[in-house]
Symmetry: C2
Subunit: 338 residues, 2 copies
């Protein structure tokens, strides 16, 4: 049996039994965006780790070292953001094939360091090793969050409004441009490429949400909007309903989809690697939090749906027609970048 | 230019500038067995990470999932041991090629979990992804140590006695047995294989040494006895002198070397992947610490040499003849397991 057959989540289920042998001070084990454990009476330490593999997550032919470095760190910072934390220390391991020039690696570290310094994150270690064929980057990031403020996946409540901090689907469009060698001559296409290669970690936004009384749950969108919303619903033992007309679709994505005859809402729902945040907020607090957010970040919190008690994902179309929705997203055991 | 040309340490030197942007509370950045930073007033958090790559560090053809799991975690626990710390949480990332059966991976996690639970270490997360060709395991381990007790590489003093907690060279002999498909029918050969595949993390021993007043510095032997001793000497701005007759050589290694006409001391000096600890202790404390160690662990602390102020590595032969020694060890950019 291969992982492809049982799926990544089937595999994780298989191996996650018996992992916690010393439960004291462990607040979040496997299963959230980052693990959380108590290292002092007031604060939790957060740890997250992501592995990026050549030909699966990226191709050296289509991404510069700098952009790959940025992205490798950004996906980890995004996990800390989803917990409401402050990112602190990064550990960067790379496995390097013989044909990878030191120049490319120096550029990769430049990308990592630029983003790290922007968010006041130290690089404190890692491992450098040879690889027989593929370049791999494994980054671990630690962070901290006051225990009372930590955001988690499993506390959504029926009735909560669902907010998103930005657009989804742009990263998938950028990937399509890359994979099909479409010339990114226009500003729109360049911006879609950037969404794929230079995702912005929503750390300040995550901290803001964590400090608001009332934010029940949060997650970052790495697998896809519908798939990650389903993670919140499943972990919280609830359902969720998305508003078809509420899904934010950027002008750039609309232009791209019009040109290639794709459905922009489909892209926004299933894209993956967007690294915006989703959060759920009780309706009484929703308006105030959205206003304060807009004031602080000069960007809207998009209200995209609501949590239900129906244990399934649904889409509400105009005219209040409700249909079931199958969560879909990127599965790197089924697709890859060649 | 490839890493092979400038060497792993040349590369690390190139990229380790500008890594610390927020120096407060950072006690050890890149350059020791683990990074150390303050997360509460009394204790430091330690973090270490190691990447094991198929065809470079191991071959699935010659190591069981269980043993590979054990080894992947053990090398990280050994780094925490070398800092005098207690290991706490582990994060396990794997990149899995399509031809790797779930059975092998479950066996790998069994190996990790068995060792983890032996040392009271939780597995709190990780990442699971596909790989185009090679299996890779990236493990990060956190630990803790009281600030006053932390052991480091850079505090050896001229005159210090150098101690080792065990035998070196056995792991290299085990690797030779593996690579040449030599039948490990005898108990001796089996024990050499085990030294290679099931290294013991010296965590209790590291904690003991950390709690003794007087232990100046420590390191674990991963690159090779002479290479790792050179790390202590270089970081401490000292030299070191080994006693030819003091290098511990196990009976099993002697038998192996006699059979294949190898030099057992050469093996012990340059082997690598031994994961015993070296420490340096001022001569006044040396005898007491060695006695207490023997009493507690029923194993000797081997006195193998002394720290000098000569900024080089030397070997003292019988009759007090002293010769320069070139530190040598395993370099995975130059050699690999096919």
């Amino acid at each position: 049996v291969s992982i492809k057959e049982i799926g990544e989540f089937g595999f994780i289920k298989k191996i996650s039994r018996g992992c916690v042998v010393r439960p004291d001070d462990i607040i979040r084990p496997i299963g959230d965006d980052a693990a959380a454990f108590r290292t002092n009476p007031e604060e939790l330490t957060l740890v997250t780790t992501d592995l990026l593999v050549e030909h699966i997550h990226f191709s050296r032919k289509t991404i510069s070292g700098f952009n790959l470095g940025h992205k490798s760190l950004a996906v980890n910072l995004s996990d800390i953001a989803a917990m409401g934390g402050t990112a602190k220390e990064a550990f960067v391991s790379i496995a390097v094939p013989e044909d990878c020039p030191v120049d490319y690696l120096e550029d990769l570290y430049r990308g990592i360091k630029k983003l790290a310094s922007e968010f006041d994150v130290n690089i404190l270690g890692g491992d450098t090793t040879a690889s027989k064929s593929d370049l791999m980057i494994s980054i671990t990031v630690t962070g901290s969050v006051p225990e009372q403020e930590m955001l988690r996946r499993d506390k959504a409540q029926p009735g909560d409004s669902i907010f998103s901090t930005g657009y989804t689907g742009e990263s998938k469009a950028g990937l399509h441009i890359l994979l099909n060698s479409i010339p990114a001559a226009t500003e729109e296409f360049q911006s879609l490429l950037n969404a794929h290669m230079l995702p912005k970690p929503f750390l300040a936004e995550g901290r803001f949400l964590a400090q608001q009384k009332g934010v029940h749950s949060a997650i970052d969108v790495s697998d896809g909007l519908s798939a990650d919303l389903m993670h919140i619903a499943e972990e919280s033992n609830t359902g969720a309903r998305l508003y078809y007309d509420g899904i934010p679709v950027s002008e750039n994505l609309k232009k791209f989809c019009a040109q290639f005859n794709f459905d922009p809402v489909e892209y926004a729902l299933t894209g993956g690697e967007d690294y915006i945040l989703l959060c759920t907020v009780p309706p009484d607090d929703a308006e105030n939090i959205a206003l304060d957010y807009q004031k602080k970040f000069k960007q809207p919190l998009h209200k995209i749906g609501e949590i239900t008690d129906l244990k399934k994902l649904e889409m509400v179309y105009s005219g209040d027609r409700v249909e079931s929705l199958t969560p879909q997203g990127w599965d790197h055991f089924k697709s890859n970048i060649l």
